[in-house]
Symmetry: C2
């Protein structure tokens, strides 16, 4: 297991972590500068942030600073109520692949979607199996395009509390079953993003990380699970402030062959997004050394 205690060579910042500084939305250009000033070598930006700044601007800025992208957030959201909706998802996902290529991302992260309409509070149906079938078909189709463009796809199993509205892939085992169905040869084109927040509870986690192996382990995301957790989406904790044994899980993924960045992804409306972004990054660096 790599020693993280003396530097932050393997720290990546998911830009949602400092999406806001003192409660105010920050442009991605500012976020990148604040990261680069601290010797942070990798980021994982969100599409809406890139779009707001302009892809060419971000592409150039990333190159200027020699930043790597540990991932690109995000594609997915495949299920839809009709063919037009699925076509729109397909087109949008291809654009996401193109953007990820332009930014030279390590992978495009897929949050696959749940029941259509549920995110807006009005699920069109309750057939989770149907959504899972549409996810299968959507990933299969996108995979062809992604392979042509040499952009790996990383399915992110989300915590079961997001099954309805964000992702109906909810365990590593389920994600890997899908990978095996669509990419049995383990080509390196399809794998998983392991976010400790989503999977820490899983009694089969170590087993499934070993099953994944180096070819399927494409990203490793960290934050912490707070007790109590006061919001299902935006109350994630800083590494070390919660109950997840992060070093143990990092040991498992590294033992299975993962050697990439440890990406900090914290959504925190009440705490971290209210602080100064520079302070948040300093604490990310410190906790990367002490608690990851």
């Amino acid at each position: 297991m790599r020693d993280f205690s003396t530097d932050h060579r393997w720290l990546s910042i998911n830009t949602a972590t400092v999406r806001k500084s003192r409660g105010i939305e920050q442009p991605l250009t500012t976020i990148i500068e604040t990261c680069a000033e601290r010797g942070i070598r990798a980021i994982s930006p969100w599409r809406d942030q890139v779009a707001a700044a302009g892809l060419p601007v971000i592409s150039k800025l990333v190159k200027t600073h020699g930043l790597e992208l540990s991932g690109y957030c995000r594609g997915g959201m495949f299920p839809a109520v009709n063919a037009a909706g699925r076509q729109a998802a397909r087109d949008d996902n291809r654009r996401a692949v193109n953007e990820a290529c332009e930014l030279n991302a390590a992978c495009l992260v897929l949050v696959v979607g749940g029941l259509p309409g549920a995110l807006a509070g009005q699920a069109a149906h309750k057939d989770l199996a149907l959504s899972r079938s549409q996810v299968h078909d959507g990933v299969a189709e996108l995979l062809e395009y992604a392979k042509l463009n040499r952009m790996p796809l990383a399915i992110e199993p989300l915590h079961p509390m997001y099954a309805a509205d964000r992702a109906c892939i909810n365990t590593m085992e389920q994600a890997l079953d899908l990978c095996d169905a669509l990419d049995p040869e383990k080509s390196g084109a399809l794998g998983v993003a392991v976010d400790v927040y989503h999977v820490w509870w899983d009694p089969k986690l170590e087993q499934q990380i070993n099953r994944a192996g180096q070819k399927r382990l494409m990203a490793f995301h960290v934050c912490d699970w707070l007790t109590p957790t006061t919001d299902l989406l935006n109350d994630r904790g800083m590494m070390g402030d919660g109950v997840i044994d992060i070093p143990k899980i990092r040991g498992w993924v590294e033992n299975a062959g993962f050697a990439g960045y440890s990406e900090v992804e914290i959504f925190s409306a009440g705490n971290w997004w209210q602080r100064d972004a520079a302070e948040v990054l300093e604490i990310c660096i410190a906790r990367h050394r002490s608690a990851v």
Copy 2:
């Protein structure tokens, strides 16, 4: 699959559902009377409610009305930081078995516990595997006592969002693995309580319900998953108001041999606990017919 549309013969009320009426805590005696008046034939009371009214009072009242108990809530909370804590849990669980026997409950439901201290916001450690090992040992020991008293134990896998503070048994597969380890002969002394709120998202749910079979399926709890869900504990929905395909899951458990009560268990600080308990029960009856 049984037809629930014309009566509420198989409706049970978990008394937490009407713990409050118009925001005010209700005595269990009142809850029982309000249920009996509506021809509800079964309840599942909580230990604290029974203790507040007095076990002999409740025992007599239940007999007077000819009520059945679809379960008794609850034993468990096995993990502890030291031997004294585990001894206290053991003693308390034996009392729970005794009470369940006095009330002639169908089973004692076990919410097994998570990381010691996490429920109070101060987890003593982060070793989920240790807690799971203590749960194994705690259930094993209690099972001997429960067998002597002929009280079946029903392990309730809780949603993974409760892994830290309430239960580190989080899937049907995990619960059934424990059942198979401790009761390989499927004696009828150990099984599971299937609450749709906790397990609806699980891609292996149907498979594991079939694995459980009649001998292990001891209780079936219903409510609904709302989108959005605004609180991790107390924002459960009334059947039909959320995204869970309850009839499909009931079909699975009945197909696997379950023929008991469908127990409504709704924790709802902002909505149902603010309404009049009689109104809530009327709606439970209506939804039992139309949405379960």
